[in-house]
Symmetry: C2
Subunit: 255 residues, 2 copies
């Protein structure tokens, strides 16, 4: 434990500095080392992935360990690693605990995962943690697994350009069946657009209706969580589809 206590951990999220999940994560990870919080000053769930290059950012310091940024989760991680912690690079980035899942294709839209992507791109082993469900969240189980998985990554590291995407079911601790290592699942994406009329008679549209469904794929993140497992998916950031390169070369390169 004494060796771990010399570790430096950077945490952030996309729900903003006042989110319950961030506070729970902070509390838990303090057991593993020195925790820095650099988080958006407000909810950034809708902004998701972007790095703010077109305008300056403001940074407010609450203490030597807690900062807020008027930007996205990605901005927070970039400002932290390239700025605040430039001379004391963190050993681990953890993003979360998000209220709501980040499963399947959704990870390409997720602010929570994007913070972990930015940490990874900047060379720091990174984890995204989400609590699956709606309504009443119980963070006990998520806190327990956040600590366990963070400790594993602090001790073992992660391969280059790889992060862990962790989704934890919002069920009573006694019902959890363990950790399952999963692959990225697939969302059922063809929900019809809901069309309605506003009080002024103008139409408006809502994407996805009530709930977007998922395909039931063995060993996928979504199936694991549904079956009561904590899902841990290793995610790589090289999106190149290598097996298509030769065909495209012969089809297109000489044009």
């Amino acid at each position: 434990m004494s060796e771990l206590m010399s570790k430096r951990i950077l945490i952030s999220n996309d729900d903003g500095i006042n989110s319950e999940g961030l506070h729970k994560l902070h509390e838990t990870l303090k057991k593993l080392g020195e925790v820095y919080v650099v988080a958006p000053d407000r909810d950034q769930s809708a902004v998701s992935h972007s790095l703010t290059l077109y305008r300056p950012l403001r940074l407010d310091k609450t203490s030597d360990f807690i900062y807020t940024v008027d930007g996205t989760p990605t901005d927070c991680i970039n400002l932290a690693i390239n700025g605040i912690l430039r001379d004391k690079k963190p050993d681990l980035v953890v993003s979360g605990i998000n209220k709501g899942e980040n499963l399947g294709d959704d990870i390409t839209y997720s602010g929570t995962v994007s913070a972990a992507m930015e940490g990874t791109l900047l060379g720091v082993p990174s984890i995204a943690i989400s609590l699956v469900g709606r309504g009443d969240f119980n963070f006990d189980l998520a806190s327990y697994h956040s600590e366990l998985i963070a400790k594993y990554v602090l001790e073992n590291g992660l391969p280059k350009d790889t992060l862990l995407n962790v989704n934890i079911p919002n069920i009573p601790p006694e019902e959890i069946r363990g950790i399952m290592i999963t692959k990225q699942g697939k969302r059922l994406y063809d929900a019809p657009i809901v069309e309605k009329v506003d009080p002024r008679g103008k139409k408006y549209y809502w994407i996805g209706g009530d709930e977007l469904g998922f395909l039931s794929i063995d060993n996928s993140d979504i199936v694991a969580v549904k079956e009561g497992y904590v899902s841990v998916t290793p995610i790589g950031l090289d999106l190149t589809k290598y097996d298509l390169i030769d065909k495209l070369k012969s089809d297109l390169s000489r044009k």
Copy 2:
């Protein structure tokens, strides 16, 4: 050509409906089929990836073929495929022509690429097209290659969950060396944060300074473009890092 003319093509972008690149793309792709434009009503470069689920969207119809949405590029494609074109699914989605590159790791932050990702997730072969450079853009070369690559995909399709990310150098047509099939490059991400003081004495921060650099990797998108080639990168949307699953299983699954 007569067979192609029965094709239905959906185009969008992240610079918004009034962008020059979108108009050039529209003009060019009309030669290949019936083109529908569903684009953001304003510049969405900063918003990038997100799907708007937390609020309704407004759709304005300019003609039977041209629509604007008060949302992100992803929203546009979703509303188009699941709404406007629900009974006449497009054969191709093309996003662009973006003013500015989408190379290397940047594609995970790109609004232009995200529109093509959404098309892909909704089962339509999709292409993202960007013109690399700053300042004066000449779209002639980009238009020529947009048509060529769009025609190829209309005739040959693309594997499931795969899109093409195309970057075209902003150089005189006679200097272009051809098409190179590439892999995703890597950004040099450790540019220091620029710290300045505003007219009221308050500090502000700017990410990345003037310009973010890239690693020089053979056959990467960035190197191809620098050497005067049109870069075509096949991009897959399953981010699972399969080669790490077994190790994680033995390390973590039993915890």
